[in-house]
Symmetry: C2
Subunit: 235 residues, 2 copies
């Protein structure tokens, strides 16, 4: 029952150009930091109009493959940073109406693992980040928005300390999804603040002491608490 012919998708020039440049970046013949030729020059090289080149460039720019420093005119090759990419992922998930349960299950899979590896690989700098996020959470007991942002920073710091870029990048979108729910949760469940603070403290010290199993266990409990809080606050 399979068709005899496949539908041939045409590739507009701007997409072809984007693909070619992307290829060059991925195979590193264009290296991070290299300046891109000017639009006029690219148009000449590809034999197309500058407008067409511009459309191609916009694609690569949104993917984080091209960018420019503040106040810089020429584009340079850049490596897509987690924030470039994770916002897209979390927006995609939001548009798919993910439930809190789905988010929670994913956090339950990723965060404890991150905590475990963080206990093994953390540096002093990582510890400082963890301490700073924890302090910021405790300090902002009143300001909900600041507290939520501190929680996000704490998770981010744990993921960074894990020394695993894949885990870090997998975890980043979860934070963005967590924020709105967490905001309402903290406001509705009075004991949430205290429990989060305690958990952060335990996790931080486990990571500091390089007790990886302990770090994992405390993180698991921490995440489980989110679900309990959610059920308490949104039932």
């Amino acid at each position: 029952m399979s068709d005899l012919f496949e539908p041939l998708d045409d590739h507009p020039a701007y997409r072809q150009i984007a693909n070619v440049i992307e290829q060059r970046i991925v195979e590193r013949s264009l290296r991070t930091g290299d300046p891109l030729p000017s639009e006029t020059d690219l148009a000449r090289q590809f034999g197309v109009n500058r407008s067409t080149v511009r459309e191609a460039i916009r694609e690569l720019e949104t993917q984080g493959l091209l960018g420019r420093g503040r106040g810089e005119k020429r584009l340079r090759v850049t490596r897509p940073e987690p924030r470039d990419v994770s916002s897209g992922v979390s927006r995609a998930l939001a548009l798919h109406d993910v439930t809190f349960l789905e988010l929670w299950e994913a956090m339950m899979a990723i965060e404890p693992a991150a905590a475990q590896y963080a206990a093994v690989r953390r540096t002093e700098a990582h510890l400082r980040e963890l301490a700073r996020a924890g302090a910021r959470f405790r300090r902002n007991a009143a300001d909900t928005a600041a507290a939520v942002s501190a929680v996000v920073d704490f998770f981010t710091a744990v993921a960074a300390a894990s020394g695993n870029q894949v885990l870090a990048l997998s975890q980043a979108p979860l934070n963005l999804l967590l924020a709105p729910t967490l905001t309402r949760l903290i406001d509705r469940v009075p004991q949430a603040r205290k429990r989060i603070g305690e958990a952060q403290g335990r996790i931080t010290s486990a990571i500091k002491l390089r007790r990886s199993e302990l770090a994992r266990t405390w993180m698991e409990k921490h995440i489980r608490d989110f679900k309990r809080g959610y059920e308490l606050g949104f039932s």
Copy 2:
């Protein structure tokens, strides 16, 4: 030590327009499937040139927020699918030179969880997908590329069966990263094929029998095996 003023980044018109349209999509005042006004019309509404509108559209298109069916001319609002988004993530990771260990640790966190939930939520359709990927792997013992693609499909099918879009979307980029390593692994380690086939069988039947703990355990063993194979083949 924080600066008094933040650097104000200028917002070119094409970026502003992209943001406005994105906003409309995220807040669902433009709903999935809605056709976008024509470029000429958008240019008129925003009071800019059509070229400017086109650049904005390119951004949204690459993010998977806009798209068009084959052979369709007008753009429509679309929801970004996993494949739209995960390729960007895995390319980002590739450019950051992730190690096999990092990838493996992330798989170790995500895949067993996916298997566990799959055993609970799988439908008959999911089982068919799993069986099909497994069969395709066993059938293509000779063709390495086909075998690798079947392994990827198997993982994808497990993630889909988990009924968790967050896990599925977190897992998708890992597949793309796994493929190249797995290709060389299968070629270098003779017993890999057999072990993968067996593991897939055990996982599939655990999911079929709704034995969630068993599914998780077998998946863990399966992933562990990848590391053993890697150490065997690349030492």
